[in-house]
């Protein structure tokens, strides 16, 4: 029989016992709904976690340090160190070279230094941190007071909330106010003395710079590795670099005797286009003669965790679907018993065993398809409802809303296909039973 005639007859049969078949279909829908609701929460939480982490810059970043810069306790004095042929200095040239590498989005140093600021005539000692442009999208500035730096070169500052409270308990009144940063500038002696570059030392000159306070943020976003959240006065990274403050590593440079005019970095953070590119870029950086590492392994662990979570959710909701499957088996077996005579007539009129089998398969598939579609919609609604409830709660706690439920197209497709597949499996026994039915017995006149 042609598929159209098969489905014609199947729909007709389904309509004949409409209540029973609707209830069976509803059973499938409930099973699919629980599957979709659970998976949508699983997927949503995973997307939320991975997007937060991706924005945090932890998983698309590589932490680069010079190979020779062995600062561990076991490192001997410079003279006794065996020089590494491939080792390179992490200076401005190296930085430019790395930023020209394919898939590299941004290369920036960790600039943070301890210094004194003056606000309202009073001095405060604090840690200053340079913020790269990309930290704007990290999510950490999402709930801030005020706004992010208007440009990469703006003389603007964002205060960490605790520090802001020290300046003025009424933190919102700080925005728009002026702040003076006192810092030590490094000046090459070689340049002043007319010596060849790199041969002289440098002196430290005290300087002042004015900043406008434009925002207050809870914590400093973790910009790559290195100092996590200990910067209390945040300024644009480009400005921080031009301040050329005497940083911790500069002092080390002096100790090491490498006192070139060009700043050499103790570390650089390299951001690539996506976490999947981290591994290859990391390898290339090592080839260039730097030390490099990333948090890729942690992200793998995280992905593994969500896989396990998904599997558990699927197992739970599969129980509901298994019950629904038994419902289909039961309904179809009853239909075979009730329609004995009809099956006999069909066979007498020339239906092959295969036609009868297909007829019951189509009936099972229709119940699975309708149940799958209805269930996906219900499951989506359940997911939305849970997400809505969560956000109502988050709002009551003065927290910003999140999307913890997600039904991507592949989940829709997969759950409907799954429902149809399971229903077909459930139809296996009833269909073959109907196909094996002896027409002579079925048609015997009683």
């Amino acid at each position: 029989m042609k598929l159209r005639d098969l489905s014609d007859l199947a729909f007709r049969n389904l309509r004949e016992a409409v209540l029973r078949n609707s209830l069976t279909t509803l059973g499938v829908a409930v099973g699919v709904a629980s599957l979709v609701a659970m998976l949508s929460l699983g997927v949503g939480l995973q997307q939320l976690a991975t997007s937060r982490l991706a924005r945090s810059g932890l998983f698309d970043s590589i932490f680069v340090t010079p190979k020779t810069n062995l600062r561990g306790p076991g490192a001997g004095p410079p003279a006794t160190r065996t020089p590494d042929a491939k080792a390179r200095l992490l200076d401005a040239d190296a930085r430019a070279e790395i930023s020209r590498m394919p898939n590299v989005v941004e290369v920036y140093p960790q600039i943070r230094f301890f210094t004194e600021v003056r606000y309202d005539g009073k001095p405060y000692a604090t840690m200053v941190a340079g913020m790269p442009e990309s930290s704007k999208v990290s999510g950490a500035f999402d709930g801030m007071q005020g706004h992010f730096f208007s440009s990469a070169n703006a003389d603007e500052a964002i205060l960490q909330a605790e520090f802001a409270k020290e300046l003025n308990p009424q933190t919102s009144s700080l925005i728009g106010k002026d702040l003076i940063l006192r810092y030590a500038e490094r000046q090459s002696l070689g340049a002043q003395g007319g010596d060849a570059a790199g041969s002289g030392g440098f002196s430290v000159v005290p300087k002042e710079k004015h900043f406008v306070i434009i925002g207050v943020v809870e914590t400093e976003p973790a910009s790559g590795f290195g100092g996590f959240g200990n910067g209390r006065l945040l300024i644009p990274l480009t400005i921080a670099e031009t301040l050329r403050a005497a940083q911790v590593n500069d002092l080390r440079d002096i100790l090491r005797g490498s006192s070139s005019d060009k700043p050499s970095y103790s570390s650089l953070t390299v951001r690539v286009k996506s976490p999947s590119l981290v591994e290859a870029t990391e390898a290339k950086l090592k080839d260039l003669g730097f030390s490099a590492f990333s948090l890729l392994d942690i992200s793998k662990t995280l992905r593994g965790f969500f896989k396990v979570l998904d599997i558990l959710l699927v197992i739970f909701s599969s129980v509901a679907l298994a019950v629904a499957t038994l419902g289909i088996v039961n309904t179809l077996v009853m239909a075979v018993l009730e329609r004995r005579r009809e099956i006999g007539v069909l066979k007498a009129l020339g239906a092959a065993d295969r036609d009868v089998k297909q007829l019951f398969f189509v009936e099972a598939a229709v119940m699975g398809l309708v149940g799958g579609i209805v269930g996906t919609v219900i499951g989506w609604l359940i997911g939305r409802t849970i997400a809505f409830g969560t956000n109502v709660y988050l709002h009551s706690q003065n927290l910003s809303s999140v999307d913890i439920s997600s039904v991507p197209w592949w989940l829709v497709l997969l759950s409907i296909l799954f429902a149809v597949g399971v229903s077909l499996a459930a139809g296996l026994y009833p269909a073959s039973r109907a196909a094996r039915l002896d027409p002579v017995q079925a048609l015997r006149y009683e």
Binding site: M1, K2, D5, D8, L9, R12, E16, R341, E342, G344, V345, L346, K347, A348, L349, G350, A351, A352, D353, R354, D355, P439, V440, L443, R444, Y445
Partner: protein, 233 residues
């Protein structure tokens, strides 16, 4: 007529049922030749094996031993798929209890064999109408079987048996559920169909008088055996 090859030839056909220790020989060594275009009536008391024999000719059942040769093909050697095709294309069946599907209209009931034979949709409506016209029920095309009298239901069943233009029409007590006048009308209809479009008919009945009036030949069964296969007139 006798020059044509026979429509059906039964060669020592037996069909037995084993029930534990005992063996029931529903059809016991029957040999019979039915020429093309003949209207044969199969008579016999209840339980004599008439329906079993008819089902063997219909390809709904397989003989335990012997051969059933229809239109030159040995049914006992066919696959079940080929037997289904034979039932769709070569055989039409009419039953004592009509066996129409109650929730389908007459049109849908008569269309069923066309669906099974995968006849083009465009062709179906005309063929259904023709078949219903042939039995005089074209005006009831949208009715359901329950809205019809017994005779009308049996005429619908005849239309359903005809719609695939089979060579052989098999009827198992077609008048068994009908009063005598209505039964006569059905037999008159079968007789007309035998002449035009031209068909071999095997009809099981236990009404000898009607059989003698309408059939070309009477075969009588008793206890699974063929007792006589003489001509009616």
């Amino acid at each position: 007529m006798t020059e044509l090859p026979p429509a059906i030839r039964l060669e020592s056909v037996s069909r037995q049922y084993t029930m534990g220790e005992s063996v029931i020989r529903a059809v016991n060594d029957v040999s019979l030749t039915i020429p093309s275009g003949e209207f044969l009536a199969l008579l016999g008391s209840s339980g004599s094996g008439k329906s079993t024999l008819l089902n063997l000719i219909a390809g709904l059942d397989r003989p335990s031993t012997g051969a059933v040769i229809a239109q030159g093909n040995d049914l006992s050697k066919m696959s079940s798929l080929a037997l289904a095709r034979y039932r769709r294309q070569t055989v039409g069946m009419v039953f004592q209890s009509f066996n129409l599907l109650p929730r389908m209209t007459l049109e849908e009931n008569v269309e069923l064999p066309l669906r099974l034979a995968e006849v083009d949709r465009s062709e179906r409506a005309t063929r259904v109408r023709e078949a219903l016209q042939r039995v005089g029920l074209e005006k009831r095309i949208g009715h359901r079987p329950s809205e019809l009298s017994g005779g009308e239901q049996q005429r619908t069943a005849v239309a359903r048996a005809l719609v695939n233009r089979p060579k052989i029409l098999l009827a198992d007590e077609p008048t068994g559920n009908l009063d005598s006048a209505t039964g006569e009308a059905i037999l008159t209809l079968l007789r007309e169909i035998q002449k035009n479009p031209g068909m071999t008919i095997v009809m099981v009945t236990h009404e000898r008088i009607l059989a003698e009036r309408f059939a070309d030949r009477l075969a009588v069964m008793g206890d699974g055996k063929l007792l006589s296969n003489g001509a009616a007139r």
